[in-house]
Amino acid sequence: MIKFLTKGLIRDRSRSFFPVLVITLTVALVVFSIGFLKGTMNSLLLDTAVILTGHEKVVTRAYHEESQLLPNDLALFGVDQLIEDLNQKYPKFFWSPRITFAGLLDAPDKNGETKEQGPVLAFGIDFFSDGSRELEIWELERLLVDGTLPNNRDDALISSKLASQLNVQAGEKITFIGSTMDNAFTTYSFNIAGIFNLRKGQTDKQMMLVDLSGAREALDMDKAASAIFGFTHSLYYDDEEAVALRTKFNDTHSDSLDIFSPFMLALRDGNQMGTMVDISGAMMAIMGGIFLVVVMVVLWNMGLMSGLRRYGEVGLRLALGESKGHVYRSMIYEAVIIGLAGTVTGTTIGLTLTYYVQENGIDYTKGIEALSNSSMVMPNVFYSQVTPDLFYIGFVPGVLATVLGTMLAGLAIYKREMAQLFKELEI
């Protein structure tokens, strides 16, 4: 009987090809939309994480208290050992030191006189260590608009907005004027190796990136760092996991009586980031939920219609002596097969599409440029994110809704007046 029904299923395109096609497209859409939604939310969080907070950030308790002032006099010491410990104890994350500092940037003319001067917000990040992923997470190769990446500790990258403001180009020298971690006056010359554009609105207006070693040299911060940033290897922020790790770390490593003891902050602990994480989570749940419900209704309805359309065939099979239970079960099996075929295909297509957009992104530069005067921090390129739940989320509408629709339609088999079969089959 299974072979007989399968034959009919394959031949009747209205029962096989079209439902599989509808389920495939719907499931692919569900998988991609949820992946894109998650990726977009994660892109928003990752931008902040890369620049300001990390998925986790370790600072001293004192630095945390005064963090608005970028107090490098309260920075972490013995950073290499601490990073080694973190890598060992929390291998789900990779850890990288960061020095954040601010001051003035002086651009001299060909005579060595000041041409332009302006404020700078600088980041000392680890460009050169083996295994460092800083270039990757900042996406600097892609964002470089002129020059090259830094080759030595005195090389710097400055944003195109800052370069324009200071009227400088790649290859020129600039001088940082600020204070060391001991609050002594310092000046330090950097070569402009390259110019970048983060393509995140006004975020990089006064930004300079130098290697950690250069920042240490300039600020006299040997073996010290403002913070240690931690990121998940997938770069996907899991708030629950991050909060649990932060709590565990602070319970075991942080001493509330020692202002220089390390203190961990999750991404949500940054300025208003908790609200943003909560809002993005809620938005995703609401949007994803609504989308899922709509799709389920569509597929439920398809299952229902598919069952009702076969009223005549079912009547004949009942008249020929097939039991109601057998007819009902065979319809459910068919729905399961159709649902599975569509869902597996749809999930594969959806995941492929999601992966493609995860790797290449969708560029909204023109749209974001229209907002360039706004203070919003917006990424120009949106990426999707392949997450484990995308592998099974499509089965909810694809199989469950289709089968439930068929089950509902199939109930008509049990309610069918057998005495009317002759009349009904006369049509």
């Binding site: 009919g8 009942l318 008249a319 020929l320 039991s323 089959l425």
Partner: protein, 239 residues
Amino acid sequence: MENSLVVTIKNLVKQFPVGGDYFTALKDINLNITKGEFTGLIGPSGSGKTTLLNIIGGLDSPTKGKVSALGNSLNDTSHNVRARLRRKHMGFIFQSYNLLPVYTVFENVELPLILNNVEMKKRKAIVKEAVASVGLSNKLDSRPNMLSGGECQRTAIARAIVHQPGLVLADEPTANLDAENSHHIMKILTDLNQKLDTSFIFATHDEKIMDYLRRIIHLDDGQITEDEFIKNSKVDTSK
């Protein structure tokens, strides 16, 4: 004699609820049909032909009285028991053929054998024989949309007799056919009746069928008004 009885009906009453009241479709029907009979239930619309056919076929239950078909009581039996009886021992022919459009002639005729779990190897031979008996051997791989009305009904007949049922119930089998095809169909059915010794019961008001019937039961207003046995029918009883 009792063993040759295919259908036994005693004091059958069938009522349908209509509003707060009941409409009596069949009134005190008493009827015996023996093996090999070629019987027609004749009467105007609403006379109770289809209702009687439904009850004999186990598609409906009697309100009162006793009904048994092929030795099985149809009073108070479950749906599954009646389904099994239809599957094993009954064949059905419908006015509008009711062939499954996505299956070939072979596969449509094969369906009752599949439902009866007949082995695939045996099925092939049985189906071919049944299809040959209605003269459609050259149409085995055709789908219903490639067949004429007469060919469709012949396929439906092959489907009804392929599992060699004891009883075939036909509701207006020639109503959708022209005269030539109607006679052709009735000729096939009479031949099968002779060959297989299967009992046939027709519900019809088609005059063209009358000449072939050996027994005509007239129904009017839910009652048997006349029950006549025809000696000079077109059915060749000499075989």
